[in-house]
Symmetry: C3
Subunit: 137 residues, 3 copies
């Protein structure tokens, strides 16, 4: 007889439609899971999703912005993140990625999330993908 926890899809207005039946983010109870985000710029009607700039910095910052929009949509912030999964395509990007990471997260109030970084294949043109698990409350 316990009440069923609501499960909410998180879909920021800036986001392009997912290419399949999944949510950009979902919240159930105090768990918020952000789907893999890449460096696509804000959705533009009638235009295929396109990564911003060819470089790692632009793509990474846009990716973080995309994750953050989903966190916010679910009532959370980076301070609630417990895990950041980072998918890069080239081990040579690690040092630059970390620089960008440190700048971006310089003003965190809470303990930084844990992180795993691995090197995988991504669709052509994409250099980085990030997903995030947050615990609210």
């Amino acid at each position: 007889m316990s009440e069923k926890l609501p499960k909410t899809a998180l879909t920021p207005a800036t986001h392009t439609t997912p290419p399949a039946k999944f949510s950009h983010g979902v919240r159930k109870g105090n768990i918020l899971q952000v789907a893999g985000q890449v460096g696509f710029g804000p959705a533009a009607e009638g235009q295929a999703p396109t990564p911003v700039g060819p470089g790692l910095r632009e793509q990474t910052l846009q990716t973080f912005a995309n994750v953050e929009a989903i966190l916010k949509e679910g009532g959370a912030s980076w301070d609630d993140a417990v895990m950041v999964r980072v998918y890069l395509t080239d081990t040579a990007h690690f040092a630059e990625f970390n620089e960008i990471y440190n700048e971006y997260f310089a003003s965190l109030q809470e303990a930084p999330a844990a992180r795993t970084t691995v090197y995988v294949g991504l669709p052509a043109g994409l250099l980085v993908e990030v997903d995030t698990l947050a615990v609210l409350g």
Copy 2:
């Protein structure tokens, strides 16, 4: 003095024995984690686990069935899934995979889970691996 949460291994009868000391799925409290599933057909005594068909479609549908059996064993369903992690081996499979995904999840009642798709190496013959995090309640 709080009671310890029970932790339960989820082992559907159809599943082959894991190749090491891990569980196909585990539930603790309202968290249910499904281990990486691949397109192995139902366990047959004295036979090594073998992927069904050589094609992406057959393997993907069997993989989803294998995940679903574990969710059910733990009292959950795809509607409780908050994250689906997809490991493919070839970026050229993305479009076909999404078609299969959309068909398979067409009848979801709740918000679809978030998803991350990356391209990795898998043992020879396997084209897809999927794991899933569910939150019950």
Copy 3:
């Protein structure tokens, strides 16, 4: 008016400083997330992190020890782990990795964690990376 859950960074004394603004582990409520660990030996002042031994066995055992130290720092143990994510670099390592895995986890009291194993790129010299999600209570 509900009290905010504390979020705690888990930083064992033996661990080298993370190469960026993330935590080796973080606990919030009953969720404990361990960041990707590799086979770095104990931190030594003025020395860059170095993997122990060149072999899979040494690196794997050190990696497990590094995960375990973080679990302990957060008041947990392997028995609380619900998911172990394993990143190997070579499918030929699977059988040996499983042997080491089975030995290492032989004395688990609770149901073993779920596991996903995929093959990715890692920085030069590293053969294995592991992260872990635990649910306490």
